[in-house]
Amino acid sequence: MNTNEEMQLIEAVREFAENNLNDPEYLEKFSPEMWKKIADFGLLGITVDEKYGGLGESYHTAAAVFENLGYSCKNNGFVFVVNNHIWVSQNLIYLYGSEKLKDKYLCDMTAGKRIGAICITEAESGSDALSMVTKAEKTDDGYILNGSKAFISNGPIADIFIVFARTGEENNKSFTAFVVEKDFPGVKIGADIEKMGLGSCPTSEIVFDNCIIPKENVLGRYNFGSLIMTMALEWERCFEFVPHIGAMRRVMERCIEHVRSRKQFGRPIGDYQAVSHKIADMKVGIEMSRAMLYRIVDLKDNMKTAFIDTSIFKLYVSEAYIKTCRDAMQIFGGYGYTKEYDIERELRDALACSIYSGTNEMQKNTIYNFTTNGESL
């Protein structure tokens, strides 16, 4: 159940998104104007304290709002930009950063003046993230960072990167998270990588070539990077997937409209169970995802960990989202395969979600390990 205040926010967000974020010209490329609009609208600091220009909302409210952003903004790539900025960049500084870091970055980030990104993956370390070779060496004044990160969403447009690097040889205790500005000496931003979907979210490689990082830009504590990474992934596996529930709703509604109006053999195609069951599956996917989501945000609002819950959520939502878009294409038949109907874009955008935030196979590994270690949810 949403409160009246949440409903007002939701309505405002839906109206805003419908009127400002659906410009067809920017479905496949990033729009700085749209970014400015969402920043002016005040949504970027949704859970951040008012002191830093945020709204100070609960995670429950943020979940309700972001589901609706995903519903009303059909530009899935743009929503991905917003999510990367908020949940795995700004939010990490807000929750785990020192007062100095918060003062330095948060107001600019909630105001959208600086865009954030997260850098974990490398060319040779994807699922096995802890095999990363990007390295930071301590100096008298700070650190020198060397290495390169791959597939960085928001890379070409970001001003602030949360970078994970090896800071010692001992495996799990030898990583540190840093806040790196794009203008620090030695940061090189690669060109936008063309992807099959999410075109409006630019992606690139980021290279650190003797990059100088001041001492105070350690996020959390030195050598506590793997803990920060675990927490970052928890946030990512929850909130990056919230708008997908809204996107599923949007796609399902289009399907419902189509199965009612499209007639074959003299009847609306929705009369055929092979078609209508696909919509029933979509509805089940949406409702199950929501049920899991609100269980997670309740944990987060009570400052509890939800690592395994978010793994299950990520796995379930991404499978349901991809199936929804795949089924939508089948329901629309030949029309669905055309660019004009925009279902193919929804499917292209959706497909990435079984890969990012840790592949679905890796989620199953995590869930299996957790379950067989005898721990219960």
């Binding site: 109206e15 400002n20 609208f41 709204l55 029309y335 004009e340």
Partner: protein, 249 residues
């Protein structure tokens, strides 16, 4: 600082969107709020909303506050209910005279889309004894002693400088306000709205609400003009071709 009063009415949302429930800001009033929000960025104005309505007006008032209002007077009393234009005018006049006697400008939407007559602005200007400008299409600026507005009718468009105090009846409307911001919305949710009863306002019950009304609506029916319809199917191109053919016919 120029003091501007905006008269706000909440109307059923379903008049704009068949699926919407509850009340929304009358689209003509929304245009005024949006315009004032724009002008407030560059001019020294304070905006005071005044609304006669029950509890269901709250959401709309929160939005009005978030958009631009510095203050809001909410005339909320069962005694104000079922007012015709005369009773409404008397109530609004009493509130403006009591709470904002030094208003430089009063601005009303030209109509309320839930079937009001469009008479309140003119009546209100008469009761307040200030100059009335009807058919206002736009408000350009607020200066120290006057404002510049655009009036438009079927024949002409006039840019007019009007000296304070005056009342505008605005004939432009909006269904979406782009100046709404969620930070302001949140502040507006927490704001304490002043609720004013008939007693507090000092208006006799024979001057407001149903008892103060000269007219009574005995019955009201929605007239739905049913037109023959056809369903156009196919691709967007096929649909467009079909529409083109129909237009040519």
């Amino acid at each position: 600082m120029i003091k501007i009063v905006v008269c706000l009415k909440m109307v059923p949302g379903k008049l704009i969107n068949a699926e919407a429930g509850g009340l929304i800001i009358n689209p003509y009033d929304l245009f005024v709020l949006e315009k004032l929000a724009e002008l407030k960025k560059s001019s020294d104005i304070s905006v005071i909303g005044i609304c006669m309505g029950g509890e269901s007006a709250r959401d709309g008032l929160i939005r009005s506050k978030a958009l631009v209002c510095d203050d809001i007077y909410w005339l909320n009393d069962i005694k104000f209910a079922q007012a015709d234009t005369i009773a409404t005018t008397k109530t609004l006049t009493a509130a403006i005279k009591k709470y904002i006697p030094d208003a430089d400008a009063v601005i009303c939407g030209g109509h309320a889309i839930d079937g009001e007559t469009g008479q309140v602005p003119a009546e209100l200007s008469e009761k307040l004894g200030i100059t009335y400008f009807s058919s206002v299409a736009d408000i350009e600026s607020f200066g120290n002693d006057s404002a510049v507005i655009v009036r438009r009718d079927e024949r002409q468009e006039m840019t007019v400088r009007c000296r304070y105090p005056f009342l505008l009846s605005v004939d432009s409307f909006l269904t979406y306000a782009s100046n709404l911001n969620v930070i302001a919305l949140k502040r507006a949710q927490k704001w304490e709205y002043k609720i004013i009863s008939a007693e507090e306002l000092g208006i006799a019950s024979t001057d407001c609400g149903a008892s103060g009304s000269k007219t009574k609506v005995i019955n009201s029916v929605n007239i739905i003009y049913k037109k023959e319809s056809i369903e156009i199917g196919g691709s967007i191109k096929e649909k467009a071709d079909h529409v083109k053919k129909l237009l040519q016919q």
